[in-house]
Symmetry: C2
Subunit: 341 residues, 2 copies
């Protein structure tokens, strides 16, 4: 049988009330007594029954998810996963609020974060735009002892408690190796298509990609990055233009969203041009493109996992509990047409 507060009281020779004061860091306990109790806790290996504690407290976890607006498939999927999480709210004792903020809008994000100060909140999860102002706002929340988790895109040098997302440098490196190996020993040009270089995840992917390309596939030369702003129309024309201007392009790495436009551009030149393509984010469009051979590999992060992980981490952090680090690592999924879920 697992030890309870009663066992602590007995072991330390104090009353239940005193044990409770020590456990919940309430005042009114002399130092010597406090130490006696803490020693007893260690001795008998007491572990608080979180379920019982939450029951007694009537605990709910008010959580806030700050996600960017915008209609690209990935963010849409992310919002939908957060929404799904709200359906489990009563079971998980969460109370989730979704705040939408225009994408890449630093002041708006800062305002949303600052609006949470002083509120009774058990945790904040945000898709971070990597700016010093955002970092400062996050640090303010952290200093108020509010658990903060970055989602999908991380924040440089911030004190956030956790990052629920993939290692984007590794993702870029992986994309490079896949493209490099799939292209065999061929020689030619590669085009990189990004959403915006203002977000850290895109910058990091490019960084990893360039590093491996330069070091291991010198025969493949990179063209300047095309910034599609995650907009299908713009992306389509950028890609079409690049392909027609340079007939030696043999591969494409699409590291952001807006793949619909990319796919349209590819289909337009399809039978004639043979291109090896690696893209990010599994959506209905990239899935279909993978299946029909327009895209060769898709790198993905599972938004559902990210959201659930963020919730677990926020709850655990709010309770001062440890997390299973291994379980919270978000993996980079690599999909070929053969292992689609």
């Amino acid at each position: 049988m697992r030890p309870t507060v009663h066992d602590i009281a007995a072991a330390a020779g104090v009353s239940l009330a005193t044990v409770d004061r020590v456990l919940n860091q309430r005042p009114g306990v002399r130092l010597v007594t406090r130490e006696k109790v803490e020693e007893a806790i260690r001795q008998i290996g007491y572990i608080r029954d979180v379920a019982a504690a939450n029951l007694a407290k009537g605990r709910v976890y008010p959580l806030v998810f700050i996600v960017p607006t915008g209609d690209n498939s990935f963010m849409h999927g992310l919002r939908s996963e957060v929404h799904h999480a709200t359906l489990r709210a009563s079971i998980e004792r969460t109370d989730i609020r979704i705040v939408e903020v225009p994408a890449f809008d630093v002041p708006a994000l800062v305002a949303a974060l600052d609006a949470l100060q002083g509120r009774d909140i058990a945790g904040v999860a945000l898709v971070a735009t990597d700016a010093p102002e955002v970092r400062a706002a996050v640090d303010r929340l952290v200093s108020e002892r509010i658990p903060v988790v970055t989602l999908v895109s991380d924040l440089t040098d911030s004190t956030r408690h956790h990052y629920a997302g993939i290692d984007n440098i590794a993702a870029g490196r992986t994309a490079a190796r896949l493209l490099g190996r799939f292209l065999g020993g061929r020689e030619g040009y590669l085009t990189v298509l990004a959403g915006s270089m203002l977000v850290r995840d895109h910058r990091e992917r490019l960084q990893g990609f360039s590093a491996v390309m330069a070091a291991e596939f010198p025969r493949l030369r990179l063209l300047p990055v095309l910034e599609g702003r995650d907009d299908p129309e713009r992306t389509k024309s950028l890609v079409s233009k690049a392909l027609s201007e340079n007939k030696d392009i043999i591969g494409i790495y699409s590291l952001g969203a807006g793949n619909r436009g990319l796919i349209a551009a590819l289909k337009a030149v399809r039978p004639a041009r043979e291109l090896t393509v690696v893209a990010h984010e599994l959506t209905q469009h990239t899935r279909a493109a993978l299946q029909d051979g327009t895209i060769d590999a898709v790198l993905n992060q599972d938004a559902g996992h990210e959201v659930r992980s963020a919730i677990r981490v926020m709850k655990a952090t709010a309770d001062g509990q440890a997390v299973i680090a291994d379980q919270e690592r978000i993996r980079l999924d690599i999909f070929l047409k053969d292992n689609l879920p």
Copy 2:
């Protein structure tokens, strides 16, 4: 506020005791009354507070993990993950017992399963050897309303509640495409290295691999499968022999354990022979081989995820709770040297 048993009682116009009888399917309730209560439960959308219920019941989940003995890295890792789970036992209210059974030994596995009949057990997880006798033993447990989960390797046509493992056909197909693409348009022979064709996961991997190879990479021809029995020494000599007998082998797919032997054989011919290699299971050996270029890709299933998922599913099944299907899907991890965890 979430509705409670009191709310049901009020809504149905009955007493708490009657609600309790209905909820816990105890006798002593007339049909009409029972239906009235059930209707009220549906009306107000009552969901049982599992934490409170478990507290009241003093519930613990006695779980049994049946895992094969043997010293290959993967099974070693699996046992270690189960052991790790026992460390969280008091928090998770589990009481995990590990039963070791010789690998591929059908009668022993059946005996282990039958020994559990009639015992007070909240769930059984087993690494299945795919034999009709095993299926029958599993079905006996299921008919006793004991939750059964297959782990890593599934059972054909059985009534087990859940399979916590990867899709092995997809794994084989993925391996084939990786090898095929990495080898570009080259022509030559491929060797497949398996542990034993008696386990379903190995058979399925081979099946998927062969299918994609035949359909999409006809220039790569498969040699007869080498059965290394997951034994490093035997594997090493088999591979060395094959490589020296056929100078046109340009790729290897190792779909089972015993990769230590494979790696040793590869290192012996390394600078001279250029081979593209895809292997299964990320261990310290395959990880090092991936890093130094001896192996090109490793397909992996995360044993920790499998064990934790199995536990969640067994607990949920024991409580008649739903599981988040998406969360319990075990994914095929593809590791290149760039995305190692």
